[in-house]
Amino acid sequence: MKPAPFRYERPETLDRALAALAAEPGAKVLAGGQSLIPLMSMRLSSVPLLIDINGLSDLAHITVDETGVRFGAIVRHSDLLEHGGAREVQPLIAAALAHVAHPTIRNRGTTVGSIVHADASGEMPMILCLTGGSLTVASTQGRREIAATDLFIGPLETSLEAEEIAVEAFMPALAAGSGIAYDEIARRHGDYALCGVGAVVTLDEQGRVTHARTGYVSVSETPVIVDVTECFDEGQVDERSLTAAGELALGQLDPETDIHGTSDYRAQLARSLTARVLRTAHEDARARGAQKVSA
């Protein structure tokens, strides 16, 4: 359980980090290391050069405005989770982060790192998709923004090029009239979810559902977002619409059997959690609407 030998650099500027990465195909970037270091220790990943970006203080920012939340590549899960402004503007972030591993891991692990690790059992890749977010990546050639929908192309695989470093993620603000929920079932709180589901529900001024979408963790190879608006054609959240939403979502999921649970069990979790989070997100939207009226 010791990593194989590697060379190590800890650049003090992003430009130096990008130059080091461009010069060494196969080098890996170390931020929090809570996924990378176990992979290296188990010798599942062999790294010629490790580029430690923890010295890049330019990537430690959390910026919140009315458009949404931006956070840099070395922002720890715990710092983002505790950020009051981020919680207010896009509450899905904190709702899901509370389920990311254990507090001790969140103290070191980074949210951007978790996103580019692209594990379909990770909460934050799905949340980036569900919020309609994006990732800014940089290389010696310049910067580009990748929409969440174009980012995840396979298990542990993103559309980043080998010489690119993810520098910042953006998650748009929760739209007016909307509510959110996230819930998951794991064998032990903090363990990988057997299934996790997030939801955003938007209501019109009469309280009718105008838009509803759900996002899934651990029941597909990449994060899956399902627009379930059509199930609420009468604008009501009831047993019929919630059941229909679960069935619609299952059609787009591929729950697999593994040591932790069978395919059927995961499908059942996806069904029940879909109904549960849609109901909660609906209540949340009403509560937020009421709060706004009274304010």
Binding site: P5, F6, S41, L50, A101, P103, I105, N107
Partner: protein, 170 residues
């Protein structure tokens, strides 16, 4: 390379701040912080269990926050203040509230997992001086123990918080 050749690796001078003392060591980049603490510095209070971040035995405090020592490289830990279980004991050798609480409540049997629990709980009761049962369970959810069945450890969390509050009040 034959089996008898010594493995040679490039090493780097690294300075770590542990329990308020600076240590200068010469290590390869792949040295895990847990191994640097135990083998290079000689502080064997930090225990190494699973070595991939699951068991929590190697938990130390990094700038006061619980962190897995097996999920950091020592070379990347030069700008932080590290506290190990040795650093919890007071200067005069008396036990810290969390250590006293484990003694009072039989919070350990074999003791292998204990250092990770002690550091985690020391930081936990500093954040939340009056945890309830549920919060005590959540505090230690990232640490595994195969002896006690956890009941006594939860009792230890509550007792540690109580001792700390008494101390802070006096």
């Amino acid at each position: 390379m034959s089996m008898t050749d010594p493995i040679s690796e490039e090493t780097h001078p690294v300075r770590l701040r542990v329990n308020g003392i600076s240590y200068d060591i010469d290590i390869p980049p792949r040295r895990l912080l847990s191994d640097a603490l135990r083998h290079d510095i000689g502080l064997t209070g930090t225990h190494v269990g699973c070595e991939h971040g699951v068991c929590g035995a190697c938990t130390i405090l990094v700038d006061g926050k619980p962190t897995r020592a097996c999920l950091m490289f020592a070379i990347g830990a030069q700008d932080v203040e590290i506290t190990t279980v040795e650093g919890l004991t007071r200067q005069d050798g008396t036990l810290a509230p969390v250590q006293q609480a484990f003694k009072d409540c039989h919070g350990l049997q074999c003791g292998f997992c204990t250092p990770g629990f002690l550091t985690t709980i020391a930081a936990g009761i500093s954040d939340n001086p009056d945890p309830d049962q549920e919060q005590a369970r959540e505090m230690i959810a990232g640490n595994l123990c195969r002896c006690t069945g956890y009941q006594n450890i939860v009792a230890s969390v509550l007792r540690a918080a109580e001792l700390q509050r008494e101390e802070d009040a006096s």
